[in-house]
């Protein structure tokens, strides 16, 4: 599997570390509802099919990315994008050929989280 890093370009997946479900968000620091914290700390959906995921470019620029991947076929369905303070900075050149579907239709889907239902 290869992953397109907006900073480094297309790289082998061995450079990246899986970072879990990207639709799970840490509750606000003043959240006192134990249930919300329990959900965040312990509960994860074991999704079959498209899923928004975090990936860390551990052996590269160390940026955190979010991308949509099909957990059955391992196909990456969306253009990975940066998260964090750099998310809005220029993203470098688009991939020349990522070997996976990066059509505009799929790219749209990033904006709609699919993990939490």
């Amino acid at each position: 599997m290869r992953i397109y890093c907006p900073i480094c370009g297309e790289r082998d997946s061995g450079e990246f570390t899986y970072g879990g479900d990207a639709t799970v968000h840490r509750p606000a620091m003043d959240e006192t509802d134990a249930e919300a914290w329990c959900q965040y700390v312990y509960n994860r959906e074991n999704r079959r099919g498209p899923m928004l995921e975090y990936w860390h470019h551990t052996q590269g620029c160390r940026a955190w990315l979010v991308l949509e991947r099909d957990t059955v076929t391992h196909k990456i369905l969306s253009q990975p994008r940066l998260v964090g303070p750099w998310a809005d900075e220029p993203k470098g050149n688009p991939p020349i050929d990522s070997g996976s579907d990066t059509g505009s239709a799929e790219r749209e889907r990033v904006s709609e989280p699919v993990g939490a239902e």
Binding site: G19, V41, G99
Partner: protein, 1000 residues
């Protein structure tokens, strides 16, 4: 009787080049271009080895990668390689091979008596007999059974050869170089695409040399040679012979092994034995052909029973007749052509036996014209001969009732060519597809729907016949190039003339009834699985294909059932009264062929297995004769032994020297993270469970990091260097993990915090100087620094110079002594280290290693890796006060969950051996005074040492109730080693409880 070399013919061999080789110590001769199998057949060697379970004599079945029986051990000594297919071994001068699974010799094998008991040794026998109702019998007999069953044995010496791993990229990968693959490669190459053509055998062309047709006016074999020459002249084509593409992985990544030097006695200089290729292909054409399948009948494993096309291959490609008198047994047309081709080359065909009652008239006439006896509507019901085929019993057969319908007759023969039809080699396709589909006309599975960018073509796709393969290959090659973005160019098809009928329909014929009794009918020749075993599995409820496979081990041998899967499935289907697709098929997984571990490991062995991290002072430690110990990827000095000292002597001496005067230890391996930014203080305050917001500049603080679930993750000191800059230290083990954790928080959880973190572990060298004379030592070493208690109080951090070198000195103590950590730029590590040693000379300074470091910290009750084991909370470790209740931080929300406040949780205690015996780390803590009466475990021992200060064996442990048990006697038990040591529970701080020594 048996095989012999024909006086002429053999498209693949060079009769002018004789090759000497040995088999089981016998010196034999062959020709260049022979395989070991063809050369052995030419030397009348029918017997190749003994079978897996019953030690039955076995010969050679095939001429290719599907071979289940002719497995040999190649070479000897360090280069020994068991279970090599003789059909794949290219002959070279001096080749040394031996047969397997026989004792004392191949011809006389003691354990062949197993065969007499075969009725008892059926599927599941060992487990049923030896494993129930108690496992005792199995434990006694397992050793003998494992010895008796099996194939070849590997060596115990290190492999002296080199293996390499390489990556390749292409537009179109073509797997297989038969008619389909060659045409596909041509078609793709014309378009300009970068093409890789991989062929598992040494010669390109697949089955083409076996065909009797002419292509563009030349023989099929010559056409193959010309086409390969044409392809090799193209810059955009890479030809890869001896390359097995064994797996199809995600994202169109395929893996292959190239046997670079397996056909030589030893690899030439600077050449690896094998190369492992990771191939990234935009498009793949799978042209892996088809595998002929045997028919299951009584005695079908007798040496001399071979596949029809293999017999043809040996004659046409190697000039070797499989026998003096050959019988052909078939359910399809193609085997007739084998008979005709062999007869035309002067070989004796005793008879053609066809299960079909009305074969095509043209074939019948062709046999008659050559005077070959023909038995339509007959099958071979039994083969006889023991170590070499002597003859077969044939009998009339009714395909509707699937029974024999008349008396059998005997035909003397020494080679039986069997064809039960063809199974497309769908292995690679099925790594990257849905379920395969069953086709009734050819009674075989063809690839399912592609889930990646590949197309199967030719025989692999069920399109048999030369013309069909050529056309399918050209089409697939052009389409693949097109999908990879290259314009298609029309490719003229070679004109095919003469030769063989294109009808590949078969009469379903899987298993022939025995003439008498059940017979010995082998489905899986490599794992000795019989038709009876399949029926037994069905009777015992193992009906699904997955259960069948695991219960009988059908198809689980090194050949992965290439010649047995479909027969096993069909017999199960008949037994169940179901169709083959209803029974299902096992989907093949990688690897298609066995892959040597050397090829997978490549160069990542020995020193290259993983990087070794060395501290800046490493060479000094080695020069002092330190015992170096791996700590993760780091090498750290364990002890600096003096002549005659044991490790224990050395660490006790080092520990005493620190407590008495002064010592220095290399702490460069600690994780170090530079934390900078206007929000750094706020960030650290959220990361650590204790307060960090008010840490002043020039001060360090010990911090505890929790996981979100409230368990302790890591600890270390963090130093405030300026308003906006901190130096964080982590444990050696968690350095990488903590950095990732911080980056995750800054990117995903709190992106609004203006903080940057980066690893500076390797930028700093660090050393701790500890002991009552630490201050005096450093005072003598530094240039311009006031190290008095007032100027540099406990936990203070100051920059300065030491011998002109910039340093950071922090007054921290892990040993409980007056101690300082001196940090400097990594390149200055060694000079600073040496200057401190020089300055401490008058105090008798010594360097100490991780053993003494551990002893000192255990005496002080400091927790480390063995206590921060991913199960302990701050409260468990007596650090409950460090888990703040006044602020929000990672892990704070889970502190009060039931599991973490349970009073029965294990808590940190100190333990003192009451008998003077040492306490083993990992011992369980129990109340019983003897091992037999130990009672339930109340906890365990985490860290142990001899305490020179107390002159006692002490330990840290985690125990239920914790310090409530202070003063109680427990036992540290380690039954595996017979240790049962009485211990007293004490406070975890053994030495200098009020900390006065470090505050001077």
């Amino acid at each position: 009787m048996g095989g012999y070399r024909l006086s002429s013919g053999g498209s693949q061999i060079d009769r002018s080049r004789r090759v000497r080789f040995s088999f089981d110590g016998r010196d034999l001769g062959g020709f260049a271009g022979d395989t070991l199998a063809s050369a052995l057949l030419a030397n009348e060697q029918t017997l190749f080895g003994r079978s897996f379970k019953y030690h039955r004599p076995r010969g050679v079945l095939s001429a290719g990668a599907e071979e289940p029986s002719a497995l040999v051990t190649m070479r000897s000594g360090a280069r020994v390689e068991p279970n090599t297919k003789a059909t794949m071994v290219e002959l070279y001068d001096g080749l040394e091979a031996s047969s397997q699974n026989r004792w004392p010799s191949l011809r006389f094998d003691v354990l062949s008596v197993n065969s007499l008991f075969s009725n008892f040794l059926s599927a599941g026998f060992y487990y049923k007999t030896f494993m129930g109702p108690t496992r005792k019998a199995w434990m006694v007999y397992e050793h003998f059974i494992r010895r008796a069953a099996g194939l070849g044995a590997g060596g115990f010496q290190a492999d002296p050869d080199r293996y390499e791993g390489l990556h390749a990229h292409c537009d179109v990968l073509v797997v297989g170089s038969g008619p389909t693959g060659l045409m596909a490669a041509r078609a793709a190459a014309v378009s300009g695409a970068r093409v890789i053509l991989a062929e598992e055998m040494a010669q390109f062309g697949g089955m083409l040399p076996n065909e009797s047709e002419t292509l563009d006016g030349v023989s099929a074999g010559d056409w193959a040679k010309a086409t390969v020459a044409e392809l090799s002249a193209l810059d955009n084509v890479t030809l890869m012979p001896r390359t097995s593409v064994y797996g199809y992985f995600d994202d169109n990544v395929l893996a292959a092994v190239e046997r670079v030097a397996d056909h030589m006695p030893v690899p030439p200089e600077n050449t690896p034995r094998q190369r492992h290729w990771t191939i990234r292909a935009k498009q793949v054409v799978i042209a892996s052909g088809a595998i002929e399948r045997p028919i299951v009948f009584d005695g079908n494993d007798t040496p001399g029973v071979m596949l029809s096309d293999a017999v043809r291959s040996y004659a046409l490609r190697f000039g070797v007749a499989a026998g003096r008198k050959i019988v052909v047994c078939t359910n399809n047309d193609r085997a007739y052509h084998t008979a005709l081709q062999l007869a035309d080359r002067g070989m004796t065909i005793r008879a053609v036996v066809d299960a079909r009652s009305t074969p095509p008239q043209a074939l019948v006439e062709a046999l008659a014209a050559r005077g070959i006896e023909h038995f339509p509507g007959h099958v071979v019901a039994k083969a006889e001969g023991g170590k070499a085929l002597e003859g077969v019993h044939i009998a009339p057969y009714d395909p509707h009732t699937k029974r024999l319908k008349g008396a059998s007759r005997w035909i003397t023969t020494d080679a039986l060519a069997v064809s039960g039809g063809w199974s497309p080699a769908i292995h690679l396709a099925s790594h990257a597809s849905g379920r395969p589909n069953f086709r009734d006309d050819i009674q075989a599975f063809v690839p399912g729907e592609a889930e990646q960018a590949w197309r199967a073509a030719g025989a692999c796709n069920g399109d048999f016949g030369l013309a069909a393969c050529l056309a399918a290959g050209a089409e697939a090659g052009a389409a693949a190039a097109g999908d990879a973005g290259f314009g298609a160019t029309a490719l003229p098809q070679p004109s095919v003339e003469g030769g063989e009928a294109e009808d590949f329909a078969v009469l379903p014929l899987w298993e022939v009834p025995a003439i008498k009794g059940r017979g010995k009918k082998f489905v899986d020749l490599q794992h000795d699985v019989t038709a009876e075993d399949v029926r037994l599995a069905q009777r015992e409820g193992f009906q699904s294909v997955e259960h069948l496979k695991r219960y009988t081990t059908l198809g689980m041998a090194a050949d992965q059932g290439k010649t047995s899967n479909i027969n096993g499935l069909a017999i199960m289907a008949e037994t169940r009264g179901a169709s083959i697709p209803e029974v299902g098929t096992t989907r093949f997984r990688p690897p298609y062929n066995p892959v040597s571990l050397g090829a997978i490991a490549g160069r990542e062995i020995g020193a290259h297995f993983r990087p070794v991290r060395l501290t800046p002072m490493h060479d000094w430690h080695v020069a002092q004769g330190a015992d170096m110990l791996a700590a993760g990827a780091w090498l750290r000095p364990r002890v600096y032994r003096q002549p005659g000292e044991s490790v224990t002597d050395a660490y006790i001496r080092e520990t005493r020297a620190v407590r008495d005067s002064v010592g220095i230890v290399d702490v460069s391996t600690l994780g170090k993270i530079d934390v900078q930014g206007p929000d750094a203080a706020e960030f650290l305050n959220r990361v650590y469970s204790n307060g960090f917001a008010k840490l002043p500049v020039g001060k360090a603080r010990y911090g505890l990091m929790l996981r979100e679930d409230g368990i302790v993750y890591d600890d270390g000191t963090t130093w405030r260097l300026s308003e906006t800059q901190y130096l964080m230290t982590t444990t050696t083990a968690n350095a990488a993990g903590v950095l990732t954790h911080l980056e995750h928080l800054l990117s995903i959880v709190w992106p609004e915090l203006r903080v940057q973190v980066s690893s500076v572990t390797e930028q700093w060298a660090g050393m701790a100087v500890s002991g009552p004379n630490a201050r005096r030592t450093l005072e003598a070493a530094v240039d311009d620094m006031d190290l008095s208690n007032e100027a540099l109080p406990f936990m203070g951090v100051r920059p300065g110079h030491l011998g002109g070198i910039p340093v950071l000195i922090a007054r921290l103590s892990f040993s409980g002594e007056l101690a300082y950590e001196v940090y400097t730029e990594a390149n200055y590590g060694l000079p600073v280290w040496e200057k401190v040693l020089e300055a401490g000379k008058s105090f008798g300074i010594i360097a100490y290693g991780t053993e003494a470091l551990g002893a000192l910290r255990i005496e002080k009750g400091h927790v480390a890796g063995p206590e921060l084991d991913g199960r302990t909370t701050a409260a468990d470790l007596g650090l409950g006060g460090m888990a703040s209740r006044k602020k929000h931080y990672i892990g704070c929300m889970m502190l009060d969950r039931e599991g973490l406040t349970d009073p029965s949780r294990l808590k940190l205690v100190g333990l003192v051996s009451l008998s003077g015996e040492s306490i083993r780390p990992g011992s369980q803590l129990v109340e019983g005074a003897t091992m037999a009466t130990s009672g339930p475990s109340l906890g365990h021992v985490s860290s142990t040492t001899y305490s020179p200060a107390l002159e006692k064996q002490v330990a840290l442990g985690l125990v239920e109730g914790g310090l409530e048990r202070t003063g109680h006697r427990l036992y540290a038990t380690y039954p595996l080693k017979g240790h049962h040591v009485p211990v007293e529970v004490v406070e975890p701080v053994f030495f200098d409880k009020d900390g006065s020594r470090m505050h001077v």
